[in-house]
Structure formats: C-alpha cells, structure tokens
Amino acid sequence: MADRMAWRSTGTATTKFLKKIEKNWQLLVILFLPLCYYIIFHYAPMYGVLIAFKKFSARKGILASDWIGLKYFKKFLTDPYFYKLVRNTLMLNLLTLIFGFPAPILFALLLNEIKSNAFKRFVQTASYLPHFISTVVLCGMVVKFCEVKGLINDIFELLGGKRIGFLQDPKYFRTIFVLQHIWKSLGWNAIIYIAALTGIAPELYESAEIEGANRFQKIYYITLPGISPTIIMMLILRIGNLMNLGHEVVMLLYNSMLYETADIISTYVYRRGLVSGEYSYATAVGLVNSIVSLILVTAANAVSRRFSETSLW
C-alpha cells in the first residue's frame, strides 16, 4: 500500500506506463509470437507494396529496385481493359449481393412458417449441407454439370430446350456464378436469421392475432423489425467484402473464352503477376483493389453508424 502511494504521488504518465509493463510483462511475452506473425505476414507485405512504385527486380530486392513513380498506376488506369475489369468485379459482387443477400432471409421467413418441428429441422439440415462442400468440389460439379452433355443440359432437353455450352459463352457466366453462390450459402447464411427469429417473443404474435392481424401483417410489423438489426449487421459485413468475394471461385470456373464477363481484378492480378511475372504492375493493380475495398468498408460503416445503432467499429 505504501509503495503504491509513493508512485502515485511522484508518477508521471511515463513512469505509470513503465510500472504497468513491469507488472504485466508476462502478457507481452505471450503476445510476442502472434505479434511477430502480424508483422511478418501482414505488415511486411504492406511494405512490399512499395514495388508498385518501383521497377522490381528479384535480384536487387525491394529496397534497391529503381523508383518508377506512378507509371504502373497510369498504365492500368488508362488501359481500356481497366474499365472491363472494374465492371466485371462490381457486377459479380453486386448481383451476388442483390440476389444472394435476401435469399437466406426469405428462406428463414418461410421456414419459420412451417409448423412441424421435425420437418423444419430436416429442411434446415439439408439446406446447409452444400456449405461443407469444398470450393474445388463445388466448382468441379458446376463445370461438369454445365458441359454440353452435363446434368443441366439433360434437364433443359427434357423441358424441350437445346443443349448449350454454358461455360463457353460469356453471357451465362454471371448467372452461373450467382446461382452457385446461392446454392452454397443459402442454408448457412440463414442460420443466423433463424436464430434471430426464435428470439422474437411469442406474446407479440399472440396479441397481433387477437387484434386480427393476418400472416403478412405479422411478418411486416413483428418479424421484420425483430430481425432487422441482424439484417443490417450482415449487410455491413457483406458490403465491407464487396470487392473481395470469390476470386477462388472465379479462378476455378472461368477460362479464356469467358474473360469478357468473368475476368475480375484479382484473377487479372494473378495472371499478370504470378503467371507472366510482372510483379510491379500486378501489385499496382492489386493496390487499387485494396484501396477501393477499404473505402467501401469505411463508407458502409459510417452510413450504418449514422442510421442505426449497429457498426463494425
């Protein structure tokens, strides 16, 4: 007690801080390895972004390579292909958002109307099975099903249509991409809404019924407000990832015939950087992507902070 009084009376902010370190050095030791991990595998690559402004030579290394300024950014931003890449990236992401985001909400609402608990559980369990299939297997199935002799064409023929090479024509790619996304994520993304639905007090429904509310009025006035915080939270999370969705999926599904609609910024970075070895140029392209997505997540967060209680930070 006495020495605590002593440092309090003489202590400046610095000595307080040193005391805190002295008392809790063990926690710093525990944090040491994780901190090294973040410095090496997250902050070092951020420093590596410098090569976007340099003519990178593997022999000279990052530091010694010659500065080149904004040449690669100019090259990318004035390339007519830039427009196509941004359009494709935004289109795939927006379409997935527009169709993929409401789908699990709708599914949860409809599932909630099912009376039999056993049937409900069965439907729900079946619905999130696709989530457990790996990206490679999922895309493998899509590729096989979309072949001219594949399952989807079998169904089309049965319905009187003609057989089409779906993954040979750019105009089908966006539809395929969105549908595979919904198939994989519908049940999984619905889990959180289903949980939110069970959290709504049953008395609300009972009193609404006494008031004579019909099914849709109950959904509109009780259910939707009840799950709207969850919806908003998921929406911000989703918008924050707007530029990052599914480059692995695109890379597995696309081929050179589909670049018109399927080539997105990250697949382009991969091809120019790792396949053709243009490290500096590809890094510049990737940096443009990172900055845009950082702006998006900040904006989404600011908007939601303004209009609701929910925010990421």
Binding site: P34, V49, A126, L129, F132, F145, K149, M233
Partner: protein
Amino acid sequence: MLTFDQGKNKDIFNLINGLFMLIIVVIMLYPLYYVGIISISDSQQVAKGRVHWYPIKISFAAYERILTNGQFMHSFVNTLMYTGVGTTINLIMSSLCAYALSRKKLPLNRFFTLIIIFTMYFSGGMIPMYILVMNLGMIDTIWSLVLPGAISTYNMLVMRTFFVNVPEALHEAAEIDGASEFRKLVVLVLPLSMPVIATMVLFYAVDHWNSWFNAMIYLNTNSKYPLQLMVRNLVIEQNYGQYYSGVGREIEDSVAATTIQYAGIIVATLPILLLYPALQKYFVKGVMIGSVKG
C-alpha cells in the same frame, strides 16, 4: 387460437410453403446424390446419358482407378498432414493472441488490438505476399501453406470475446496461488473455453482441408500437392491422363473419364460428409458464437 384468416387460405399457404421447402431440399441434395450414382455406374451407361435417378450396372471401376493411383492417395496423406500441422499452429497462435488481448492489463492493449484489426481491412495483396514467401525460402515447403494464415483474425477475435467472459475473480484466485499469465491460460482459461476451442478446431481444420489456391501458387512438386489440388487438376483442368489404364485403351479410357472425375469428387468429399452428422451442431454453434459482437 383460431382467428379470422385461419381456414382455407392458411391451408393453401401452408401446402405451397411445404412443397416449396421440399423443392429446396431436392435442389440441395440432388446434385451430390447425382455425383454419387454416376461414380458407381457403368461408364458406358453414363456416356449414353442414361443415369439420372439410380445407378445402372453398378461398378466400382472408377474408384479402383482413383484409389490405386499413387499420386492421388499421396495427396490424401499430404492433406491430412497439412491439416494437422496447420490446425495445431492455428490453435496455439490464436489462443496466445486472444488471451493477451483479452486482458485489460496488457500494456498498449488498444494499440495492439487496433493494428491487428486493421489487417482485416487492408492487405498488401497477392504479389507482395508471394515475394515474401519466396524471400523467406518457403516456396515448395509445408510452411508456405501453414504459416501465412497462422491466425485468422476473425476467429481470434471470437476467441477473445469468449476469454473476456472468464470472471476476473477466477484470475485473481489463480494469481494468489502464484499462477503466471501463461499458466492461467493453460489451466484456467482454455479449459473453461472448450466450446469455442472445439469450434475453432473445426473452422481451421475445414479451411485447411479445403484449401488449394496457396498450394497451387507455392508448391512446385507434384508429390506435395494436397487433395483439393489433385481434384482440381482431375475435374476442372481435365488432366486425367495419369488415371488411364494403359496404352491402346484410349477410347475406353475417355469413356471412363466422367465416372473417374465423379469418383474423385466423392473421395474428396466423403470424409467431411461422414463427419457431417456428428459435427454440424458444432458448426451451427460456431456461427452463433461468431455473431456475438467482440
């Protein structure tokens, strides 16, 4: 419970809704079922487009090609190893990080939390990461697969949320007994957090099991490939030459290609599907844990 709108309208709605749910179940389950029946049907029948509802002339020839292929089986073992080593590293690193950040006493706690969360929203990108892995000499080694993702910041924050909930009184009691911070993590916090640890094991392990992209860019040697990369090469890149049975049987082999590809899909998916009934409730729990804001 009966009110005005209950009656015929309600029955019709329930009927249509029930049917709709059944259709969803079929859409969710049929593709996998279809892959399964193709893989065990006779390849001639498959090529003629006859197999849709049940296997025809059941044959395990395709599985024989897959399971006797040395490289495919080797990739299976590789994946087990990458998953085991990777998940162990993930757990150790994530719990250390989550524990330190969960303690208010950690000097500069806010600063550390901030610089760690920042990495969720901004990264150097694919190419600087590749150059880094190259400079560290990790190309074509297991380390290129398990170290760059040693901590998933999202998972780690979920763990931290859980750790914070361990009552301060227990910490104080342990401190009176002379326990160090590390000892408290091992004997106090981890045992109390088993549900979240179990979920993390699942999340991390499934991520390793399913990963292929890092293996594709970082590994050069075929014998080190993980399972998913083999499946990609077989099904998507259509490199099935190595599964052929021999010279002079090319026609027969190309007929068999589809069944071999589907058998490969099943072999890669079956382990997860077998574990699925046992594990799915932990996964669902994990989603809920993750939704608690940190």
